[in-house]
Structure formats: structure tokens, C-alpha cells
Symmetry: C2
Subunit: 351 residues, 2 copies
């Protein structure tokens, strides 16, 4: 059976209507609302064909039709045209990049917030990660007589604090001296690849502060491990409650529960190595293999951050999602933050 122009028009009508109303659409509704110049009976015949093609389904015998996952797939792959951003949307994006987002954490958080606000779906942003993270610099800072904080700065500009307890904290000058020694060490070797013995040999050099040195090494290692572990920011998780698909508390609960599982988040939003940065990827309904999320779709894109370092921005909402709006917004936002990041990198290199 051939998918002619008229069938496509009808499929589009069904998708548009269903996205807006969440109600199955009947042939008469299409005949009345969309002036296709054909009667409801003809539309019925065409709908029967569309169902045979697996593009739409009937929830029950005497109901209208709703798009199937396959129908949405056809739509997003071939029929959907990108939408212009509205004034409000453009304005919100401008405000986002104009904020002084000099810390990657804030940039991620704000991005998630803005995107979830504009789409009314749930947004997840992952911190940019690559395979090899290097520690650029550490600095010890006094806290009190019994503890110092070790500030670790990585080459992807993440800054982490680790409090270290010690019997008697060295004074500031001493801390600066130790920090400097450690920074020298960091330049010479990759602390992550050192085994216990070599590490012991090195901390030996620190003489009186052997224990402290070991703790610092530990803090540095932990930072790298934490960094190589993916970090998520989610925003608008509760928005899901606004959709009739989740008006059943059990469903909402299982959505939230799925969201608390990191493994699931990594599968859905962890960076996809094969994905070219900027390219939008769409996962529709059951295409993700998670029972709890079979009525959800994910729209996501990687953004580039430094060499071989990617983060992901993703939007998750009901399968009945406004794909065209979501894709347009995600496109725009990825472009924006790529520019912000690029600008800051150029500054680094040019300055």
C-alpha cells in the first residue's frame, strides 16, 4: 500500500490534534476541522489503511485513532517542519546566555530550568564529561585547627571541595608550600595511574605531612572519580503531573521512581558517543526499553565542551509531545550554550 499525499495529511491532522487534546480523533472531526475536501467516509477508508500500516491505533473498537510510536517516528523523521521561536522563547534564551554564567555548574542548572520552563516538560542536563579528566591545580585552605579544605580544579573547569581532617592543621604558609609541592607533582605524573607503592614513595617526600599528603591524593582521586561519574541536573520533574497520561498516581509514582535511578538516567541521557554534537536525537515511546517509560518520549542532543568532552541536554515528556517545539528549542539552546562555551574557550586560548 502506498502512502500518498492525502494519507500523510490525515496522519498529520491526527498527530496535531492528539498532541493538543490527548483525545482519540475520529473521522468526522478531521472532516470538519481540516478542510481536506473529502468526506468523513473517505477519511475512514484512509484511516483504515493508516492503521494497517501501523501508523495509528485504535484504543478500543468504537473510539477514534491515536498515533502509534511508528506514526510519531514517521512524523519526526519526514513530516515535521521546524518551528520559529516565539518572542518569549527568544527572550528567555537571550537572558540565559547573558547571565554571567562563569561556572559550568550554574550554566547547566540555568539551562535545565529555562528549558523545562519553556517546554513544560522535564529537562535533564548532564555535566560535560570526557574520558580523561586531568587535575589542573589543587589548593589547600585552612578551615579550623583540625581540618583543611582541599580545592581541586580540573581541566574541564570543575571546582570541587574536599574537607580533610587532620590532627593539627598546618598554618597558611605551610599549606601554600604543600599545595605548591603537590601541584609540581601533578605536572609530572598522572596521579590516577599511580599504584599504592609509587604513591607511598611520593608521599614519603612530604616528610611530616605524609598523612595529609595521602589524604590530598585521596581527595584528588575522588574528584576525578566523581567527575568521571556522570552528574545530572533535572528540572521540572513535577511537570509530568500536568499531563492526563499521568493523572493516575501510580503512573506518576513510577515515573518519579524511574527518575531516581541513576542507571536509567545514564541509559537515557548519558552522552551517546555516536551522537554528533548538536544533532538532535529522538527516542519515541517504547523505543526506549523501559516499561515504566513506555509512554514517554525523549528529545536530546549532545553539546561539545572542550576536546572530546560532551554533555547532554534532554527533554522527557509524554509520547504525545510537541516535537516540533521541543526540537526547535533544543536546537536553539544547544547553539546558544555552544557559543557561550566557545567564547570562553577562545578567551582562554587568545588571552
Amino acid at each position: 500500500m502506498i502512502l500518498n499525499d492525502r494519507k500523510i495529511k490525515i496522519l498529520e491532522a491526527i498527530i496535531n490534534d492528539y498532541v493538543a487534546t490527548a483525545e482519540p480523533i475520529g473521522s468526522r472531526t478531521i472532516a470538519k476541522k481540516y478542510n481536506l475536501g473529502i468526506s468523513s467516509a473517505t477519511i475512514r477508508n484512509e484511516m483504515s489503511d493508516l492503521e494497517e500500516l501501523g501508523l495509528i491505533v485504535q484504543p478500543h473498537t468504537s473510539a477514534g485513532r491515536v498515533p502509534s510510536d511508528k506514526g510519531y517516528r514517521l512524523y519526526v523523521d519526514h513530516l515535521m517542519h521546524s518551528r520559529e521561536l516565539t518572542g518569549a522563547e527568544t527572550k528567555a534564551l537571550k537572558e540565559l546566555v547573558n547571565q554571567n554564567l562563569n561556572h559550568i555548574d550554574y550554566l547547566m542548572k540555568q539551562t535545565a530550568k529555562v528549558l523545562s520552563m519553556l517546554t513544560r516538560y522535564t529537562t535533564v542536563v548532564t555535566e560535560p564529561k570526557g574520558r580523561e579528566i586531568k587535575v589542573k591545580h589543587i589548593q589547600l585552605v585552612p578551615v579550623d585547627e583540625r581540618s583543611v579544605v582541599c580545592v581541586v580544579v580540573t581541566d574541564n573547569k570543575v571546582i570541587k571541595n574536599h574537607v580533610i581532617s587532620c590532627r593539627l592543621a598546618p598554618d597558611m604558609d605551610e599549606l601554600n608550600r604543600i599545595s605548591a609541592m603537590f601541584n609540581m607533582l601533578l605536572k609530572q605524573c598522572d596521579i590516577m595511574t599511580l599504584d599504592e607503592k609509587s604513591l607511598d614513595a611520593i608521599t614519603e617526600k612530604f616528610g611530616g605531612y605524609k598523612e595529609l599528603a595521602a589524604d590530598i591524593a585521596e581527595a584528588v582521586k575522588r574528584t576525578v572519580e566523581e567527575e568521571e561519574d556522570v552528574q545530572f541536573y533535572a528540572s521540572g520533574v513535577n511537570n509530568i503531573l500536568d499531563f492526563p497520561e499521568f493523572s493516575d498516581v501510580g503512573k506518576a509514582r513510577s515515573f518519579f521512581q524511574a527518575f531516581e535511578e541513576k542507571k536509567m538516567l545514564i541509559t537515557l541521557f548519558g552522552q551517546n558517543p555516536s551522537g554528533t554534537p548538536g544533532k538532535i536525537q529522538i527516542v519515541i515511546g517504547g523505543e526506549n526499553n523501559m516499561e515504566e517509560l513506555k509512554d514517554c518520549s525523549i528529545v536530546r542532543a549532545n553539546y561539545k565542551y572542550g576536546n572530546n568532552t560532551y554533555g547532554t541536554i534532554g527533554v522527557i515528556g509524554p509520547t504525545r509531545m510537541n516535537y516540533s517545539q521541543t526540537v526547535s528549542l533544543l536546537n536553539a539552546i544547544v547553539k546558544s550554550i555552544n557559543n557561550v562555551i566557545k567564547a570562553s574557550e577562545d578567551e582562554d586560548n587568545g588571552g
Copy 2:
């Protein structure tokens, strides 16, 4: 009408049963389940009296009775006996304090997590705050050519990072010099009380780094402001969905929405100056004046952290809450973390 022993027994039976089942309790149920040695008819008469006293209410004519806010109030004030902790509970608390919680942030987060896990209610912990926060120490750390991070350590041991952008970041030695100068300055005067002009005069001294100095001052001020603003950790917010009281999505939604409003959180969980640390406070149902939370109760306590510095731990759940368990757990947890904090303070002073 006098509240005799028998009436009290009946009230307790109603509360216990209702907390467990969330169903209105009838006279026959009480007669069968609790061997009070009286018939259902007598219980009916007593229940009629209890209703007249405003301690229980009838949802509708032919239903059993449920405790009123006033009934719960009487219960928690006079009838409730503290419950022994179970083995699992004791174990979880021990694990909490045994973790190396050397950073106040982690301690708060873990506390919230453990308490929400044990109670299955929502837990909110506020960072310890006092009126006057002093900045003890700052340290500049290089990030890249165009930015440095300013690490601020306050006297309540909170550590905050602020990224500062500058045209050309000074090298490490220079940063250490500037940090040292600033730390001197911090000892001499309270940076928060300085007006624009005096601040200008001081940053003048920094010569070439006037701009940077101003940014540092800004970062320090921001830290103090952020610190004086209350910070919350919530855990188990989704637990509310497990209660039939919130099986209506609308209700759940409005609970979540209320929870996103900081003002509300401050009212409910912000430290209560009049509350003695360790003393448990209970707010039942409509006693908080928030329409969205009129079916919720709050159990909270302040814990002491340093001089005149208090944080709050609070549990929020349905009015039909297991008060006795919650109070016992909260008591134990407040004691535990007070001990942890005390130990670390003693170390400070003794070491």
C-alpha cells in the same frame, strides 16, 4: 463533660487505628479489636461525647469517626508515649554518625536521607544559621587564564566557591599574595558593614588588582548573604504519593508546588528563635495556616551548631502521621548529630 479514662482509651484506639488504616473507625470495630470490656453501644455513646468535645469528627453521617486536629493535639501533648527504636533504626542512625561527615553539607544531606528513609515521610533539613556569620578566610585559586575561583570559609565552617572572571588572571604566587592581604583585611574589619566609599579606599591599596579586589569583596559579601539566607535539603518528597490522602493528582501537585516555594519552607522549617534546641515541636494539620498543607503535620526540632547558631530538622507527612515513631526518631537523630557536632567543636577548642 469530663474526659474520663475510658474516653481516652477510645480516643487512643481511634487514633491508632486511623493512623494505620486511613479509614474512619466505627464503634463495632473498636469493640471487637480492643478489649475494653464494653459493648459497641456504650462506645457509641462515648464517641458521641468525644465528638461533642471536638476531638473526633465524622466525615459524613453514616461513616465512622476520624481524629480531629484537636484530637491529635491532645494525643501528642498528653497521651503519646515515646517508642523504642527498632534495631534497624538504631543501626541506620549509627551508620549515619559513623560516616566521615566532615563537611556540614554532607551531614545535612545524609541526615535528611536517613530520616526520610526511616519515616517514609518527607524530611527537610536547614543548614545551621545564626545572625552573625563571619568570614574566616579566603583563598584565590587559579582556574584558567581568564578566571580564578575565590574559596570562602566562614566561621560556621561553610565553604563556598565563587568563580571570578578577569582580563588576565595573576599567577599563583600573586594570588597567594592577594589572598594573604585580603585575609589581613578580614581580621581588621567587618567587610559587611563597610560602605562603598571605605571599600573603594581599601581596594585602592591593591593597586593593579583593584578590579579583582572589588570582585573578591563582592564574592565574600555574596557568601555571607547566601549563608544568611536559609538553605534547605529535602529528601523523600515523593514519599507523599504513597499516602491515600494524596491519591488525587491535584492534591499531590499542590503539595509539590507548595514545596517549591521558599517562603513556605521558611515559615514551616525556618529556625524558630523561641524553640530550645532539641525540643520537639509539632504542628498539626490546620495549625499551620497554609491551605495547601492543611492535611499535613510537621514535626521538627532545632539543633545547636556553635554559639547562637541553629539548624532545623523537620518531617512533614499526612496529619494521620505516626507521631510517636517520628518524635522518637527525630529525638534520637538530633541527639546524634548534636554529639557529632559537639565532638568536632571540642576538637577545635581542645586541639
